[in-house]
């Protein structure tokens, strides 16, 4: 087992290196001149040249790459072209908000998607199955941004039930001091006992939460259903019934545990999708997370910022996959 973890870790590092290499190649693929960008639209030729030296763009490619990696290891993700602030710091501030959304969507995926898929498989071709499949396939076909816009329209504009965006209402922000312990507003306000802020934060979480959770729920439900259809036909399920075990144990314990592999895989995949869907959802709901950051960066073609987010997300995803693979290896069949 230890060998496996070690091997897998090594593979991850190799992959990480490849990922960084690819991002580097991408940055050098820009048609426009980053030095000119940095210097600004009204720079003179000399200023651009100075900028080039400053950015290290006059050195040969492999040297640039070396510096690139060095910077990464130091945690230096470059400076935003727009704000000239370090991308790393800007990103750090945005992470908690995104993590909130990712957490919601993952929890929803597991606690709604899994049971949905299981029940769907058990009651194959009955109305429950048809309903659930219809819902899941709809959920993965809906454009996330469209759902977000319409939820806003419905619940904010027409019904005036829920806020339009951001994590907190304007007046709450102005009137209260927002606690900053973990960085998660919901958690912090709960810890400090500030119920007004807590309630407000929760209300603001609803619409973006629903929007971002739809796709993962549908995805997990679909995959779970197909994995379980196979499992439920296996002999050991029938044998378990023959021994007199009640159906709920057969389903939720015996069958489900066999689907660990595909389940972990699909949940990891859904987190990956969610990470990127936040780009869409956050920009619609003005949610102050990574997605919003990168969405604005894209519009202004702020390359370092875009790159910073890319690297961060890619690294997070690689780590996630590593964890997932280790969990899957816990399956006794794999231990051989």
């Amino acid at each position: 087992m230890k060998n496996f973890i070690l091997k897998r870790l090594l593979l991850s590092i190799l992959v990480l290196f490849g990922v960084i290499l690819i991002t580097f190649i991408i940055t050098r693929a820009i048609p426009s001149d980053p030095a000119a960008q940095w210097a600004g639209p009204r720079a003179t030729a000399e200023q651009i040249k100075a900028a080039r030296v400053e950015l290290g763009l006059d050195k040969p490619l492999y040297v640039q790459f070396g510096k690139y990696i060095q910077n990464l290891l130091k945690g230096n993700l470059g400076y935003s072209l727009k704000t000239h602030q370090p991308v790393a710091t800007e990103l750090k501030a945005c992470v908690p908000a995104t993590v909130e959304l990712v957490l919601i969507s993952t929890i929803a995926a597991v606690f709604i998607g899994l049971p949905l898929g299981l029940i769907s498989a058990k009651r194959k071709d009955q109305w429950v199955d048809h309903l659930s499949r219809f819902f899941s396939v709809g959920a993965v076909s809906l454009p996330t941004f469209w759902v977000g816009i319409f939820l806003q329209l419905l619940f904010y504009s027409w019904l005036r039930l829920l806020p339009m965006g951001d994590q907190l209402s304007m007046n709450v922000r102005l009137m209260y001091e927002i606690p900053k312990i973990t960085g998660f507003i919901t958690l912090d306000s709960l810890i400090t006992g500030n119920m007004v802020v807590f309630k407000d934060a929760l209300l603001h979480l609803i619409l973006p939460g629903i929007t971002i959770a739809l796709y993962p729920i549908g995805l997990v439900a679909r995959m779970t259903r197909s994995a379980l259809l196979e499992i439920l036909n296996e002999d050991y399920i029938r044998a378990a019934r023959a021994y007199g075990l009640p159906e709920r144990i057969v389903l939720w314990l015996y069958a489900l545990k066999n689907s660990l592999g595909p389940t972990v895989t699909v949940v990891t995949l859904s987190i990956g999708y969610t990470l990127v869907n936040t780009f869409l959802v956050e920009s619609i709901f003005s949610w102050p997370g990574i997605g919003n950051y990168v969405a604005t960066a894209v519009v202004s073609l702020d390359y370092p910022a875009i790159l910073g987010v890319t690297i961060f997300s890619a690294i997070a995803y690689v780590v996630l996959n590593l964890i997932a693979d280790i969990i899957i290896a816990l399956d006794p069949r794999v231990r051989i």
Binding site: A239, Y243, G244, D331, P332, R335
Partner: protein
């Protein structure tokens, strides 16, 4: 003779994309308490379907039970709902499956599986159930029971797994055991061990056994009575002595002939290997194409079980009721 277990007019269909296929059509089958009944037939004859139907494990679409009764201790199992059937499974009627590898859940240890079944069926505490589990593992003659509990199915050999399955099946005091080709996927040498184990357990625990196999030779060794199945029907039934000494149905004769007896004896396989495509709408005996003793009577209708002597019945259009001449029944002209 009290009626312990009996099946009457059971008809089971399967819906396939090619239409509805009749898989079982059993006129009657009775098993007395304490008996070992052997059911023989080739693959596809419906034996396993029968086993599942008895326990209510038949997948209902595509399967469907058209009619019939399965009486166990006076209760009709087919009339029971799922929840009621759960009270029988494992506790009164238990089953041993064919493939020991696929019958054990690969992600749980053997111990977890057997203990869970025991606790579910007998309401014991964990410690008590564990004790009982060890007891059962020792009863199936597996050494080092405590260690075996911690193993996963893939860490055991085929023979060991099959013994575990027998242990689980018998762990909760079932009185009626259905053994569905328990030695099919095992080496011949291991087979003998399992069979002996079953025979010993049967004597010790006094269970009634419905033993399903495709080998008539196996049957004669451990069964009291035997039934020959062909395409979902029982074509011959009686005590082992009756059927083997005096086989009447051509299929039975073929099966017996296929058992290799002496090294130098040539086996005439020709009768077994004939298999023609049946035309639709043929209403005669299902064995028609392969039968070498057929005549016009055989194409007329599906033969019903006729009494020959004692408990010996045969479903053959040409057999004569009650005709045993010199210990051998004759066909009509």
């Amino acid at each position: 003779m009290e009626n312990y277990f009996s099946i009457k007019d059971l008809k089971v269909n399967f819906k396939t994309f090619e239409g509805i296929k009749n898989v079982l059509q059993l006129e009657q089958l009775t098993i007395s308490k304490g008996e070992t009944f052997g059911l023989v037939g080739e693959s596809g004859s419906g034996k396993t379907v029968l086993a599942y139907t008895i326990l209510g494990l038949l997948p209902i679409p595509p399967g469907s039970i058209e009619s019939g009764e399965i009486n166990f201790n006076g209760e009709n199992l087919l009339a029971k709902k799922e929840k009621e059937m759960q009270k029988f499974r494992g506790k009164k009627i238990s089953m041993i499956f064919q493939d020991p590898m696929s019958t054990l859940n690969p992600v749980f240890t053997v111990g977890e599986q057997i203990i869970r079944v025991i606790r579910n069926n007998k309401n014991l505490s964990y410690k008590e159930a564990e004790k009982k589990a060890i007891e059962m593992i020792e009863m199936v003659k597996l050494p080092d029971a405590k260690n075996i509990l911690k193993k996963y199915p893939h860490e055991l050999s085929g023979g060991q797994r099959q013994r575990i399955i027998i242990a689980i099946a018998l762990s909760c005091g079932a009185e009626f055991l259905i053994a569905d080709e328990p030695t099919r996927n095992l080496d011949v040498t291991i087979q003998a061990g399992i069979l002996k184990l079953l025979a010993d357990l049967k004597k010790e625990l006094k269970v009634t056994v419905l033993f399903i196999a495709n080998n008539l030779g196996l049957m004669s060794a451990i069964c009291n009575r035997v039934g020959i199945m062909h395409e979902g029907r029982i074509v011959e039934i009686g005590t082992v002595r009756e059927v083997i000494k005096n086989p009447i149905h051509p299929y039975t004769i073929t099966l017996l002939r296929a058992i290799p007896k002496h090294k130098n004896e040539e086996i005439d396989l020709s009768r077994i290997l004939i298999k023609g495509e049946k035309s639709q709408g043929f209403g005669g005996c299902p064995y028609y194409d392969r039968c070498l003793e057929k005549d016009e009577k055989c194409a007329e209708g599906i033969p019903k079980l006729k009494h020959i002597e004692g408990t010996h019945y045969v479903a053959c259009s040409r057999a004569i009721e009650g005709s045993a001449v010199n210990g051998r029944a004759t066909f009509g002209s």
